[in-house]
Subunit: 254 residues, 2 copies
DNA sequence: CGGCAAGTTGAGCCAGGTCAACTCCGGTGG
DNA sequence: CCACCGGAGTTGACCTGGCTCAACTTGCCG
């Protein structure tokens, strides 16, 4: 007699969404993982402490946004990465080495997994292994893309890039022209390595050029996707950045 | 009768170094992976083309430095990540989506692995699976740390951080005070999101303060590790940055 | 030894950081 | 229901770190 999956799992997006880890497990494996796991809900500003990470170094996000924050000694703050639905964090062995703090940016549902159970399940189940591997892989490429964004792009270009990143990551309509910005301006600034003031100015400028429309503080409508794309890709020669007569001519020349 | 491991593997660091992937395989698995692999040597500037990546999307670095470069439309270049000995790249499914170019920064030895053989070996051999997983994991955290470096740090702080990153990654003496900078200034600038001129000025400034000594263009001796550490951690209040009388007093106050 | 790319040095300038003042908005309590 | 509060967001004015451009030096490779 195979027991039902733990009740807490039945409503979880990681269990029910196609492509997510738990979706690939059979009843027994789900039971193993379920018994070795604890779901919890974090509110904005809540932190996962170092001691918690020692006991529960592996966790999956089923809703909300979790951030990895680095604090410089003089108070400057950066958000090194954003984790969302379906992401699996494996912090085994990194808690002590000051790799940053995990802080929720809004109400976030997480599932802490027992390392042993996780390892066992991944070893047994190739489907689950692939899901975990691909998730980690996309985290890696996302982090590298993000690093590339931060390195040489100007403020407006970083913002344009971020709008597309948000669109790509929204589960329901990843190609829609309405994009939800799931985090506050302040956090956005820390993620993009800029100041909240600059974020504000850049949004306004994109809006004034008719490239995006701000439906509310957290809803952006993309009005001119190709142009936004060009900005995100750093095409300063087209008439994208500050609309001076000079570079309008340059643009015409190409 | 078990065949010998392919001859090409016998000298490869991924085969012989403890902790590397092939080190965990038995003879038969090594044979599988070896038959489905091609070693090659890239010279500085060589690129792995999109077509190559379609056929050989998985590769391991056994020596040298490989870079993932993003090119903005107006010519700005960024190095999103550096790959070195022991790193495994899994580019399955990412070649088409313009995720950047893989370019060697010096003479680089790579081993292209058959995706099928790799997958089979990882499914069979838990040790190999763990090595691959942990390698990908450290790539992820490295990329995130790098993003954090780029976001809010000043030029000098980024450089200090990079010196420590180089020290951590050198295989032989990861805690030595002599650090090899494995890439050219130009590439370093692209990796840290700054201009070669700025890199040069920052090196000079660190040297003039007696924090590092430049033995040659690619060899740095750390003379004052704690102070370099403080700079890397963004401690602007200590007397680290530009040595004005004003912040010397501030430093004394703490 | 010559040629060329990499690296360095100097001078000027601008994108975005900083600081301060103000508005907006959601929550709370009388 | 409204007055109040505090943090988030915006706007404006000013300042500076690092980018830009140009000239020069160094060092590698044939």
């Amino acid at each position: 007699m195979v027991p039902d999956p733990p009740r807490k799992c039945q409503k979880c997006s990681i269990y029910s969404d196609a492509g997510a880890l738990c979706d690939h497990l059979d009843q027994a494996q789900l039971e193993t993982l379920g018994n070795g796991s604890r779901t919890s809900i974090m509110k904005r500003g809540n932190t996962i402490t170092g001691e918690e990470l020692l006991i529960w170094p592996i966790l999956a996000i089923s809703a909300g946004v979790l951030s990895l924050q680095h604090l410089l000694e003089d108070g400057r703050k950066t958000i090194a990465a954003l984790f969302m639905q379906g992401d699996i964090l494996d912090m085994r062995g990194v808690s002590r080495k000051h790799r940053g703090h995990l802080i929720a940016l809004d109400t976030t549902h997480i599932c802490r997994l027992s390392p042993d159970a996780f390892e066992a399940v991944v070893e047994q189940n190739n489907g689950a292994q692939k899901v975990a591997w691909n998730n980690l892989r996309s985290q890696t490429y996302r982090a590298m893309d993000h690093a590339a964004d931060l390195a040489k792009k100007q403020a407006q270009e970083k913002l344009a890039s971020f709008i597309f990143e948000c669109r790509r990551r929204q589960i329901d309509r990843p190609t829609d022209e309405i994009v939800e910005i799931p985090i506050r301006r302040i956090d956005l600034a820390d993620y993009l390595g800029m100041q909240p003031e600059t974020v504000s100015r850049c949004f306004k400028e994109l809006e004034s050029k008719g490239i995006v429309g701000l439906r509310s503080i957290s809803r952006v409508k993309i009005l001119n996707a190709p142009r936004l794309r060009r900005i995100a890709n750093g095409d300063r020669h087209s008439e994208n950045l500050r609309p001076t007569p000079a570079n309008k001519e340059t643009a015409a020349g190409f």
